[in-house]
């Protein structure tokens, strides 16, 4: 911790650009730049999804025709939104210096994230069992068997939710490390805030996937 603080102080001392342009610490500024670049990755994926959907000659299955249970997806959304609220509370508690509350809210967020990942694993299994195969061995090409419509439907689903799920998983790793360090009293409030920014970003991406893939 001493080492972290001294390296941060060294970097601050080397900053020669006058006032910080965004009025934020360099850690927070870098985190936001990372979030913007990661958001652009999802933006590209969603635009590709839009392209595939509009270029598809076969009708794209709507929410009622597809294989998904909308109430189940709504439950996943509820879990993720709730975990974002607990994460926000962890950030609030860490700023107050309340370590017990910080740890409690971090653990609740981890439980929510793990529940969301479990739901996503169930959703993938369900879709594969319903007929969306990951590999069509007969033709030697992936994702071609799909009883609901164009093959791009299954491809888009696995790509979008897979990328999002991998972000949820990384978020869980970050939160677990933050919680352990917080329990040991080694995490400053700023680190909890950085972990929180990443977790809220994961929630933000889900808002777009939920609407654009499942509802429209």
């Amino acid at each position: 911790m001493m080492h972290d603080a001294s390296s941060a102080a060294t970097m601050e001392a080397h900053w020669g650009g006058g006032a910080a342009p965004f009025g934020a610490s360099w850690q927070k500024t870098m985190m936001w730049i990372f979030i913007v670049t990661d958001a652009l990755l999802f933006s590209g994926l969603l635009c590709a999804y839009s392209f595939l959907r509009q270029a598809s000659p076969a009708p794209w299955p709507g929410p009622q025709e597809g294989p998904f249970s909308i109430p189940f997806i709504a439950l996943m959304t509820f879990i993720l939104i709730t975990s974002s609220a607990t994460m926000g509370s962890a950030v609030g508690a860490s700023k107050l210096g309340d370590h017990r509350a910080t740890l409690r809210y971090l653990v609740l967020t981890i439980v929510g994230g793990a529940a969301f990942l479990g739901c996503q694993a169930y959703e993938w299994t369900h879709l594969i069992r319903e007929g969306q195969h990951l590999m069509n061995h007969a033709k030697g090409a992936p994702f071609l068997v799909n009883p609901w419509g164009p093959p791009q439907y299954g491809q888009s689903f696995f790509l979008l939710t897979g990328f999002h799920g991998s972000h949820v998983f990384s978020g869980l790793v970050i939160l677990t490390i933050t919680a352990i360090r917080s329990a040991l009293g080694k995490t400053p409030a700023q680190n909890v805030e950085m972990a929180g920014l990443y977790w809220h970003f994961v929630d933000l991406v889900w808002v777009f996937i939920f609407t654009l893939f499942y509802l429209i």
């Binding site: 965004f22 652009l40 635009c47 000659p57 509820f78 609030g92 920014l197 929630d203 509802l215 429209i216």
Partner: protein, 100 residues
């Protein structure tokens, strides 16, 4: 002492409740088979509303300097818009060629 200082958790749980209301409204619009020409703009508007609430309240952009918010919002939205506007006509060309 401001209200947010008195209870630092309040803003997160108010935002949580608002997000739930908006999500339930979106699901309701879907369940009641709102006409598609109305449903799509409705869902897109509410999606953006949710994004603003998460960015503003959960990610604290409301409380940061405005140029940070501008960098984030403009960086993402302008790039996405350019990408979307470039590829959408192309998707129609691909569809036309496939059908013919």
């Amino acid at each position: 002492m401001s209200a947010s200082h008195a209870n630092p958790y309040r803003i997160y749980w108010i935002t949580w409740a608002l997000l739930l209301v908006v999500t339930v409204s979106m699901l309701g619009a879907e369940a009641f088979h709102m006409p598609r020409w109305l449903l799509v703009p409705f869902l897109l508007t509410f999606m953006m509303l949710k994004a603003v609430m998460i960015g503003g309240n959960f990610m604290h952009l409301r409380f940061e300097k405005s140029n940070l918010g501008l960098m984030v919002f403009a960086g993402i939205m302008v790039t996405t818009l350019i990408l979307f506007l470039y590829i959408t006509p192309e998707s129609h060309h691909v569809l036309d060629r496939t059908i013919r």
